[in-house]
């Protein structure tokens, strides 16, 4: 479904990605793990068109995204939940969700998407009239994910959904991820919490300073002694 081929990314003089290749098959959950600054978020920003590769190719369903504007990539079925949630603080919860459905045509379709998100996050229904800036961190994360789901993506890019959340909320976010997967959405998940990420993922890639150093099934990665030492704290 998604395929990166030998991609380089530069931020000015600094090279953030070195020849990254990866693949996400339809229906899978694929996770990117790695330390801070390894380039995990860069991969997601690349797929959603916020930045462009200096070399290599990004293919979504076989078509290159090189000349596709970020907002048109969304139209093709890719939603990105950015790092730090980035909800529209001055808009209400409902308005945030409506923005997520910006490209969805028809009142009935928006209504249906809204019901689905409220079913996944009942808390958002209670708070729908409230400004997003007044929500707690966990609620904002739910809103950010719900907002991305409003567009009915086929591929969801999730950047550090568990960051800064209390342990019980981390559990429920990963529960939600499993639920999203059951709805047939393909996921590319960036996480620092490698432990949880490898538990929900089918496959995993390990990034170190902009290079992919390891990729395998999640199961085997979780059993790999190097991964255990570096990312699972054992």
């Amino acid at each position: 479904m998604l395929c990166l081929r030998d991609v380089d990314v530069h931020y000015g003089p600094i090279q953030a990605l070195h020849g990254v290749s990866l693949e996400v098959a339809e229906g899978q959950v694929v996770t990117l793990i790695g330390a801070n600054g390894a380039g995990k978020s860069t991969v997601l920003r690349l797929v959603s068109g916020l930045i462009r590769p200096t070399r290599g190719e990004v293919l979504f369903e076989g078509a290159s995204l090189a000349r596709v504007a970020a907002h048109d990539i969304v139209a093709r079925g890719v939603s990105h939940v950015p790092e730090g949630r980035r909800v529209f603080a001055g808009l209400t919860v409902l308005e945030n969700l409506e923005m997520g459905a910006y490209l969805v045509r028809g009142r009935a379709a928006i209504r249906a998407a809204l019901d689905e998100v409220f079913e996944l996050f009942p808390r958002l229904r209670e708070r729908r009239g409230q400004r997003a800036g007044t929500l707690s961190g966990g609620e904002q994360q739910m809103l950010a994910i719900g907002r991305a789901l409003m567009g009915r993506p086929r591929l969801l890019l999730l950047d550090e959904p568990s960051l800064g959340l209390a342990p019980n909320l981390v559990q429920s976010i990963f529960g939600v991820i499993a639920g999203i997967r059951q709805r047939g959405v393909t996921l590319l998940l960036v996480e620092q919490n490698a432990h949880m990420a490898l538990r929900v993922a089918d496959r995993g890639y390990v990034l170190e300073t902009g290079r992919i150093v390891l990729h395998d099934t999640a199961e085997r990665l979780a059993a790999d002694p190097n991964v255990r030492a570096a990312y699972l704290g054992e």
């Binding site: 907002h71 048109d72 950015p82 603080a89 001055g90 910006y102 907002r147």
Partner: protein
Amino acid sequence: MSQQLINAISLGAVYALIALGYTMVYGVLRLINFAHGEVFMVGSFIGLAALSVFHLPFALAVLVAMVGAALLGAVIERGAYRPLRSAPRLAALITAIGVSLLLQNLGMLILGAAPRAYPPAIDPAPIAWLEERAGVVVTRQQVVILAATAAILAGLSLIVSRTKIGKAMRAVSEDRQAAQLMGINVDRVIAFTFCLGSAIAGAGGVFYGVYYGTADPLMGLMPGIKAFVAAVLGGIGSVPGAMLGALLMGLVETGVSSVTLRVSPSLVLTGSTLRDAVAFAVLIAILLLRPAGLLGRPGREKV
């Protein structure tokens, strides 16, 4: 007193119509569109042509001026600002000043620098029964302009708060990148914002022309700066802030105009000479106390 209040509100209404364009464009682009006063001027001249050359009724003339100003706004955005979207902000700011000077001088070249008489499209005579009963001089002109301004402001508030494009404007002004990730075509939203702000300023230009009876190519300068101050006063980026700031500017200016200060027998300061100085002093004072403006949210500068 109530007389001054009515004059103040009339002046504030015109400032509000200009200030909204500044504040909305700043919201989505973080750019002070210094050419905005000239859009107001061009709108005024389009209205003048519609009234005195084509003899259109007042309401239609306002509409034509709004459409013309909106087109001008779109052209300015597309031609001058969009190519600089990723350039340093200072480049866009200098371009804005350049566009402003260009339009002023084009105006003088085409129309000449001399003020032109604006046709009194609405009866400028005071409404007799109000003068008799309440002792206040209110002209039909003032009433029509105020009503039209109120309608425009209400319409704008509705657009910004209820419509899809209005919500997208707010989303873009909060976080342009996150808006892109929603599938919002940010360029289109910015262009729409320019059109909307310019149309309102165009209407303001016609009202101003009718109210003061003249139009000239430099007429956008002072009202433009005052409206900018009003927008900053209210909290730039905030739509209700711009309305409030404009009303305050109108009150302060009208209030000061009515005062005469005898410093010494040879130095008498009349209100009209003090007016601008006091207006800007108020700005400085408010910004010292509330740097984000009256209704502005204290800016957490985005990284």
